[in-house]
Symmetry: C2
Subunit: 143 residues, 2 copies
Amino acid sequence: MTSTAPTAATPEDLLRGAGLRVTAARVAALHAVGDQQHATADDVLSSVRAELGTVSVQAVYDVLHALTGADLLRRIEPAGHPARYERRTGDNHHHVVCRRCGAIGDVDCSVGHAPCLTPSDDHGFVVETAEVTYWGLCPDCSA
Amino acid sequence: MTSTAPTAATPEDLLRGAGLRVTAARVAALHAVGDQQHATADDVLSSVRAELGTVSVQAVYDVLHALTGADLLRRIEPAGHPARYERRTGDNHHHVVCRRCGAIGDVDCSVGHAPCLTPSDDHGFVVETAEVTYWGLCPDCSA
DNA sequence: CCCTAAACTGGAATGATTCCAGTTGAGGTC
DNA sequence: GACCTCAACTGGAATCATTCCAGTTTAGGG
């Protein structure tokens, strides 16, 4: 509920709105993920370096953690593939993942919402979220 | 459809039924995962070593791959935690995962089946399976 | 019983991510 | 506008699960 602006807000505004310091690396990282949805840490590192010159690996991981913690980015971690980051946060949408190349597509829950989110038997677990991952082959890899 | 015996079949029978060679390591691994559902590769390694003495790390990974490939085991790979293996295969059931300790519980799909399995928009992906993961805290960790 | 491909040994390598100790810089204060 | 402090960044080493590799053993068909 903090920021209502959809995508119009600048990275700087987003950072300030989240109470985070505005640094070159963070701004560049937000640009990077904005340009390339579902970017890996490595993708972000390349983008940020292209924009700023020398940036340490650690800086990018720090930035990604900070942004993920502030809900400016969402982290996706498909089994067997490096983590990816996206800017669509807050809504509970899911993903199609390509088994071969790791490409990702966004998928809105087909049933709507609730059913997917309530396990039949929770084994005493306190369940916070449900995550749906569709596995298959992307258009390129299925050819 | 190969084997119809539920859990009564011995590891040896299961292996032969799947056309795999019967080796000590494989039998021991099946025992290990049978005793401790959702065991990690490391858990299996310990169990197998306890049963057989010296067994290489690689052997256990090889065995787990072979058994997974033959559908005698199913591999679960929760984000941020080492992979785990279970003997319940073939049915499409899901999991509750503890964010803190990685403990896992089995969950049957509450909606039944189909809805969870059909993305609203597949982005041209050829979707094979859908995987639902419930994230939360296990009884121990929520205390 | 023998032979061969499949399975196993042990040690080194990989790749994503994190830890660490020291340096830099954002942004509030005077 | 200069100063100060803690958060952010640097660079290099470490971690952890997993895989690769080259050589040795063994299951099980002939």
